[in-house]
C-alpha cells in the first residue's frame, strides 16, 4: 500500500487541459521531487495535493484515505511556499504557532512545540522578531518551522529555494536533506532546478506539458532516461545527443557517427535486442559528458571502451574538470576529461567513449529505444 497515491489525476482550466492523467505512488518517508520546465503543471499538481486547487478527475489518496474533497487544513499536510508567505504582522513565534493556535492547541503546549522547532532549526534567538527584520535564509527557516511544528503526515515544498542566492541555496539544500534524513518525513517538493531534484530526491517525477515523463530514482532517471526530453533536461552539462545510423558490421551491431572526414563505428552494448530492429535507420544517441573522456580516466572495469582521435574544437576548464568540445554528427559534443595537460584547440586528441552507458532514442517519437527487460533499467519506480 503506497502512502501517497496520485491516481490518474487530471486538471482542466476551462478549455485547457493542464494535467493529463498523472499517476504517482510514493512510500512513507520518500522524498518526491516534481521537476520540469515552467508551465509543466508541477505547481498545479502540488496545489492539488495541498487542496488549494480542485481536482478535475482522478483520485488523491493519503495513507489509504481519499482526500479529494478535504479542506487543506484537514489533510494533515504542511506547505512551504516560494515567497515564504510569512505573516508580516506576527512575530516569528506567532508565525510558527499560528497553525497550532487555529487548531486550539493550549498555550503551554504551543510554546513548547515552538521552542522544539526553533531549536531544531537554530532560530531560537529570532523568535520575538518580525519577518521584516529577517534575512532571506532566516525567513526560509521560519517558513520551514511553521511546517514542521504541526508534525504533519506530508510536507509540500513549492520551489522553496528559488528566492535565495546561489551560496545560501546550496546550504539550505543540504539542510533540507539532513532534516529529511533525521525526521524521516514524507516530502513532495517542486522545483525547476534539476540539480536540486538530483541531490534531494529519493524519487524524481519529470514532467512536461502536463504529462509525467518519467518517475524513478535519481540515478535511474539520470542513467536510463525514458525519452529525449528527460535525457536533455536532467544533468548539467546536459547529455550529448548525436544523430547516428545503426548498422551491422560483420555481425556486430554498431552506431555510425560522422566525425569530420571519418566515421566512427561505436559498438552497441546496451539495448542490443531492441536496436537490432533499427538496422540501417537513423537514431539519436545519448552520451553523458562523463561517458566521453580521456583514455586514462576511462572506467575500464564496468564498461566497454571505444577510443578515437578527434579534433578539439574548444577547451573549457572548470578547475575540477576539463570540458573538451569536439564535433560529432555536426553537433558540438562535451567530453569531461582530467584537468592537467589540456589539449589545444585545433589539435587532435584521443577520446574514450564508454559505450556501455550509451542510450539511443527514436528521433521521430523521441522515445527511448530499449530492450524491455534490461538488467540495469528499473523503469518505473515500483513500490514493492
Amino acid at each position: 500500500m503506497s502512502f501517497l497515491h496520485i491516481d490518474d489525476v487530471h486538471k482542466h482550466f476551462g478549455e485547457t487541459h493542464v494535467l493529463k492523467g498523472i499517476d504517482i505512488e510514493i512510500d512513507k518517508g520518500d522524498f518526491l521531487v516534481l521537476v520540469g520546465p515552467s508551465g509543466c503543471g508541477k505547481s498545479t499538481l502540488l496545489n492539488m495535493i495541498a487542496g488549494l486547487d480542485t481536482i478535475s478527475e482522478g483520485e488523491l489518496r493519503l495513507d489509504g484515505r481519499r482526500i479529494n474533497e478535504l479542506h487543506p487544513s484537514r489533510r494533515d499536510i504542511a506547505m512551504v511556499f516560494q515567497s515564504y508567505a510569512l505573516y508580516p504582522s506576527m512575530s516569528v513565534a506567532g508565525n510558527i504557532g499560528f497553525g497550532l493556535e487555529m487548531r486550539k492547541v493550549p498555550k503551554a503546549e504551543r510554546r513548547a512545540a515552538i521552542q522544539r522547532v526553533a531549536e531544531l532549526l537554530q532560530i531560537e534567538n529570532l523568535l520575538s522578531r518580525k519577518p521584516g527584520q529577517l534575512s532571506g535564509g532566516q525567513r526560509q527557516r521560519v517558513a520551514m518551522g511553521r511546517a514542521l511544528v504541526r508534525d504533519p503526515q506530508l510536507f509540500l515544498f513549492d520551489e522553496p529555494l528559488s528566492n535565495l542566492d546561489a551560496k545560501l541555496r546550496v546550504d539550505m539544500r543540504t539542510e533540507i536533506k539532513q532534516l529529511h534524513q533525521r525526521l524521516g518525513t514524507t516530502i513532495v517538493y517542486v522545483t525547476h532546478d534539476q540539480i536540486e531534484a538530483m541531490t534531494l530526491a529519493t524519487r524524481i517525477a519529470v514532467m512536461r506539458g502536463g504529462e509525467l515523463q518519467q518517475l524513478g530514482t535519481p540515478q535511474a532517471v539520470y542513467d536510463d532516461p525514458n525519452n529525449l526530453f528527460v535525457a536533455g533536461f536532467m544533468g548539467s552539462p546536459s547529455m550529448n545527443l548525436v544523430p547516428a545510423r545503426i548498422a551491422d558490421r560483420d555481425g556486430k551491431l554498431v552506431a555510425l557517427v560522422e566525425a569530420g572526414e571519418t566515421t566512427l563505428a561505436l559498438p552497441i552494448v546496451r539495448d542490443r535486442e531492441a536496436l537490432e530492429g533499427w538496422c540501417n535507420r537513423q537514431v539519436m544517441l545519448g552520451l553523458r559528458p562523463e561517458a566521453i573522456t580521456d583514455p586514462t580516466s576511462a572506467n575500464r572495469d564496468g564498461g566497454e571502451i571505444f577510443e578515437a582521435d578527434l579534433e578539439v574544437e574548444l577547451v573549457e576548464p572548470t578547475g575540477a574538470d576539463l570540458y573538451v568540445v569536439t564535433r560529432l554528427g555536426g553537433i558540438s559534443v562535451n567530453a569531461r576529461m582530467r584537468p592537467g595537460s589540456p589539449p589545444q584547440p585545433g589539435e587532435d586528441t584521443r577520446f574514450a567513449f564508454d559505450v556501455s552507458r550509451m542510450v539511443a532514442f527514436d528521433p521521430e517519437s523521441e522515445a527511448r529505444i530499449r530492450t524491455a527487460v534490461d538488467a540495469d533499467a528499473p523503469v518505473q519506480a515500483a513500490s514493492a
Binding site: A50, L52, S73, F81, L86, Y87, P88, S89, R146
Partner: protein
C-alpha cells in the same frame, strides 16, 4: 571656480545651465511664498488685531482669540466638527474596507462596480450637497415619494430637525468619499501575497480570521492614509454644508469653516474669523505634517 580660465562663451553657457532651473522655478516660488505663506502670516497677524469689517493693524493681543473661545456658536461648530469628523472618518473607513473586501472576492463585473462606487468622488461637494438636499427635503424627496407610494405615516425629516441635521451631512459626505476609500483599500488588498492566504488556509484559519489576523493588520498604512485624507477633508468641509443646510437649521450644522465664513463676510468680525482660520490651519497641520514626514522620509530598508 575656473570661470576666468574658461573661454567666455563656455563660461556663460555653464552659468546659464546652473541658473536656468532656479530661474524657471522662481516665479512660482515667489507666488507661493506670497499668496500661501504670505497670507497665512497676514491672517495670523489679523487674528491678533482689532479688525472688524475691514482689516486694521492695531495690535490687540489675544482679544480676538478670547472672544472666539467665548463664542457660543464656535462651541457648536467645534462640537459639530467632532461629531461629523468622527462619524465621517469611522463610517467611510469601515464601509470602504467592507466594500473593498467584498469586491476582492473575484466577483463578476468588478470593474463596473468599482467605477460606480468611485463616481461620487468625481462630483463637486456643491453638487452632492444640492442633490442630497433635494433627496432629503421632506417636501420634495424621499419622504414625499414614500408617502405618495402609500405609506402615509412615513416621516424622515432629519434635514430640518436641528438635532439630527448634522447626521444628514454625515450621510452625504460618507456617500461621496466611501468609494475613494474603497479604492485605496482595494489597492492594498491586491498587494497582499496570495501565498500568504494559502498558507493561512493550510494553517486552518477560517476566512474571517484570515482577514482579522493576517490581512487587515497588513493594511495599516492604508488605514493611516485613509484617516489622514478623511480628517483633513472633514475639517475643510465647507461647500457640502453650505449647499445642503447652509449651516442650519439655526446653527445646528455650523462647523468651523462655515463659522469662519460667516464671521468674516456677513458679521464683520474679521478678527475672530482670522483666529478661527488659524486654529483650523493648526489642527490640519498637526495631522498632515507628521503624516508627510513619515511618508517622505527615506524608506527603511
Amino acid at each position: 571656480m575656473s570661470d576666468t580660465a574658461a573661454p567666455p562663451g563656455k563660461g556663460a553657457r555653464e552659468r546659464l545651465q546652473r541658473w536656468l532651473p532656479k530661474l524657471v522655478l522662481s516665479p512660482s516660488c515667489v507666488l507661493i511664498l506670497f499668496f500661501v505663506y504670505g497670507f497665512i502670516a497676514w491672517t495670523s497677524y489679523i487674528s491678533f488685531s482689532n479688525s472688524g469689517m475691514l482689516p486694521e493693524y492695531t495690535w490687540a493681543g489675544l482679544r480676538q482669540w478670547s472672544r472666539l473661545w467665548g463664542s457660543w456658536t464656535w462651541g457648536i461648530a467645534l462640537h459639530n466638527i467632532w461629531v461629523f469628523g468622527l462619524l465621517y472618518i469611522v463610517s467611510c473607513t469601515l464601509l470602504g474596507l467592507l466594500l473593498a473586501i467584498l469586491l476582492d472576492q473575484r466577483i463578476r463585473a468588478e470593474g463596473a462596480l468599482r467605477t460606480v462606487y468611485l463616481y461620487p468622488m468625481a462630483l463637486s461637494f456643491i453638487v452632492t450637497g444640492t442633490a442630497w438636499q433635494w433627496f432629503l427635503n421632506p417636501g420634495l424627496g424621499l419622504e414625499k415619494t414614500v408617502q405618495a407610494l402609500g405609506w402615509e405615516s412615513f416621516s424622515f425629516n432629519w434635514l430640518i430637525d436641528s438635532n439630527m441635521a448634522i447626521y444628514t451631512v454625515v450621510i452625504a459626505a460618507v456617500w461621496q468619499a466611501t468609494g475613494f476609500i474603497m479604492a485605496m483599500f482595494l489597492a492594498g488588498l491586491r498587494g497582499i501575497d496570495g501565498e500568504m492566504i494559502k498558507a493561512a488556509q493550510i494553517d486552518g484559519a477560517p476566512a474571517w480570521k484570515i482577514y482579522l489576523r493576517i490581512i487587515i493588520p497588513q493594511l495599516r498604512p492604508v488605514f493611516l492614509s485613509a484617516v489622514v485624507v478623511l480628517a483633513h477633508l472633514a475639517i475643510k468641509s465647507f461647500d457640502l454644508i453650505v449647499a445642503m443646510t447652509g449651516g442650519g437649521p439655526g446653527n445646528a450644522t455650523a462647523v468651523p469653516a462655515t463659522f469662519m465664513y460667516s464671521y468674516a463676510f456677513s458679521r464683520n468680525e474679521m478678527g475672530i474669523a482670522a483666529a478661527s482660520a488659524v486654529f483650523m490651519l493648526a489642527v490640519i497641520a498637526a495631522l498632515i505634517i507628521p503624516y508627510l514626514y513619515s511618508e517622505l522620509r527615506e524608506p527603511r530598508s
